[in-house]
């Protein structure tokens, strides 16, 4: 059980970190630049918030299965494959909420920075810093979606014992095998993890705002 929990945390934290590393610059760029189709792009991103996990799983499966274009990378049924899948899954939420966090700031802040002679990069860094609490909430939400999903984990990971089995796939398997008490125990661990993450985020936000 501990082994499954640790693996779950490693995979979900990795995908959250990777997703954040991609989403923050991309979201910053979308927020800073005015371009045609920006609104359409944001609608699309927001629609993808709710993309079913099995669709991402299927999509990735087709890409990385041995017959797919990336088959030679041998990512199917590996934790790396699961991290990629979960990253794709939460990327829309992270990008969308990064843009929302930046656009939620006082417009005058950016203008003040420009008038003080800030370069584009300096503007982005200072504004991200200013939006840090909203960003943190976005990251927590992304992590929550990553750790709780089953679709990618089962289709890309394959629920291989000791290798790609995580809390959600283990619960699903144990329940179908009739081991309900084990499922409940695993479920409690999953809930506890979510609780700890949320509590931590709230603590950080509260501490910063006081």
């Amino acid at each position: 059980m501990i082994e499954i929990t640790v693996r779950t945390l490693i995979i979900s934290l990795s995908s959250t970190l990777l997703g954040t590393a991609i989403a923050v610059p991309v979201g910053g760029l979308i927020s800073f630049r005015e371009f045609r189709g920006k609104r359409t792009l944001m609608y699309l991103v927001q629609t993808l918030y709710a993309v079913p996990t099995v669709i991402i799983g299927l999509f990735l499966f087709l890409l990385i299965s041995s017959a797919g274009p990336f088959g030679s990378l041998r990512l199917l049924f590996t934790s790396t494959g699961m991290i990629i899948g979960q990253t794709l899954l939460i990327l829309p939420i992270l990008v969308g909420l990064t843009v929302a966090a930046l656009e939620g700031l006082d417009l005058g802040l950016r203008e003040s920075l420009v008038s003080l002679g800030a370069t584009g990069l300096q503007q982005l860094l200072l504004l991200l810093r200013e939006a840090r609490f909203a960003l943190l909430a976005a990251v927590a939400l992304g992590f929550g979606r990553a750790i709780s999903e089953v679709g990618v984990a089962i289709m890309v990971g394959g629920n291989i014992r000791g290798f790609t089995r995580v809390l959600t796939t283990a619960i699903s398997l144990e329940t179908s095998m009739g081991n309900v008490s084990l499922s409940i125990a695993l479920g409690i661990i999953l809930l506890a993890l979510a609780l700890v993450v949320n509590f931590g985020v709230n603590l950080l936000q509260g501490g910063g705002r006081a």
């Binding site: 008038s115 003080l116 002679g117």
Partner: protein, 358 residues
């Protein structure tokens, strides 16, 4: 220091600024005065290089910005702007003031005394550790000024710096602006819709209306020699009366208005059809029985209505055209004036001004 030549700006097909040409001298306080929507804020944003103009040429110092290739960030760092609504970061006052220095890579050790000096200058000594979100509007605006002057800009732009503030905070901000000017010799360009503020602070001002520059001059010139009807109305010369110049004599024009011949001091020869701009406080009223002459040198009118205006009284006359006089309440009572009465209205030749009619 700043030169605009035929600057125009339009957004979404709407012309906001039209053919603005002006020059701000180094070290002066230059006011952009005009009602809301006259384009002052847009012009000040163009001069601070926040938005590029749609037409025209702009020079900062000797560098033509509109020629392209100018290093905008380097130029912006020689200037600073205080906005109507101060935007502060959710940190302490010190960090907010120090931002400009941080952007320039200034070391923390040399930044500290400069931030403290800037806070002293705006009267916020010791405010450094306070959280910006706990300050009042007037204090925030002073933080914004400190943030702007901490980098010792050559030009300081102020966009309606007191529009959202109470009279006391306004007074404080005006004091700060005066001190920045006298201590640092900074060139200041300020936009304001408040004429009195423009008069108090500015060496020269440009009156704007509907995106056009109506007149540039010292406050005195703008107040007493408005060049167009719009400016005259804006600076409070609310009586605009049509007349014809009969003759000129040593700096005085004799103007025929409604059968009367009135004298108006002029600075340059005028003739023909004119508009006489008369400030209401320059008009003197007297009872009609005292002033009967053959060719009247005064206006005669019937009192239409009377409004209280603090210690003054605003008397609306019908002289064949509407005329407003602003007189002291005690004078009003001493003359025992009332609506319906016929009175004489006179004014000092220097209290009126002629505008050539196009």
């Amino acid at each position: 220091m700043i030169r605009c030549e035929g600057i125009g700006w339009s957004v979404g097909g709407k012309t906001v600024l039209d053919d603005i040409s002006l020059e701000v001298e180094r070290g002066e306080v230059f006011g952009l005065i005009g009602p809301s929507g006259s384009g002052k804020s847009s012009l000040i944003r163009i001069m601070d290089l926040l938005v590029p103009p749609s037409q025209g040429r702009l020079w900062i110092d000797t560098i033509e910005v509109t020629a392209g290739r100018a290093d905008l960030i380097a130029l912006r760092r020689r200037m600073a702007m205080v906005f109507q609504r101060p935007a502060v970061f959710s940190s302490d006052v010190y960090r907010n003031v120090a931002i400009g220095l941080g952007l320039r890579g200034e070391a923390a050790s040399t930044a500290r005394p400069r931030v403290e000096e800037a806070l002293d200058r705006v009267g916020l000594t010791g405010f450094g550790p306070r959280r910006a979100s706990t300050l009042s509007g007037g204090e925030l605006q002073r933080v914004a000024i400190a943030r702007a002057i901490v980098t010792r800009p050559e030009v300081l732009f102020l966009d309606e710096p007191t529009a959202n503030l109470d009279p006391l905070s306004t007074q404080v901000i005006e004091g700060v602006v005066r001190r920045v000017r006298s201590d640092l010799g900074t060139t200041i360009v300020m936009a304001t819709h408040n004429l009195d503020q423009g008069q108090r602070l500015c060496d020269r001002m440009a009156v704007m209306a509907a995106g056009r520059l109506m007149q540039t001059g010292t406050p005195l010139e703008v107040f007493y020699q408005p060049r167009t009807k719009e400016v005259a109305q804006f600076v409070g010369a609310e009586n605009l009366v049509e007349g014809t110049v009969e003759r000129m004599d040593r700096g005085v024009a004799f103007v025929r208005i409604n059968g009367a011949i009135l004298r108006v001091a002029v600075h340059s020869p005028v003739g023909g059809q004119v508009t006489v701009a008369i400030r209401p406080e320059e008009i003197v009223l007297s009872r009609d029985d005292g002033c009967r002459t053959k060719v009247p040198d005064h206006l005669t009118g019937r009192i239409v209505s009377v409004d209280a205006d603090g210690p003054l009284v605003r008397v609306h006359l019908d002289c064949g055209f509407p005329l407003v006089a602003l007189i002291r309440r005690l004078t009003f009572l001493a003359l025992s004036l009332a609506p319906g009465q016929i009175v004489c209205a006179e004014f000092d030749p220097n209290g009126a001004h002629l505008i050539a009619r196009a």
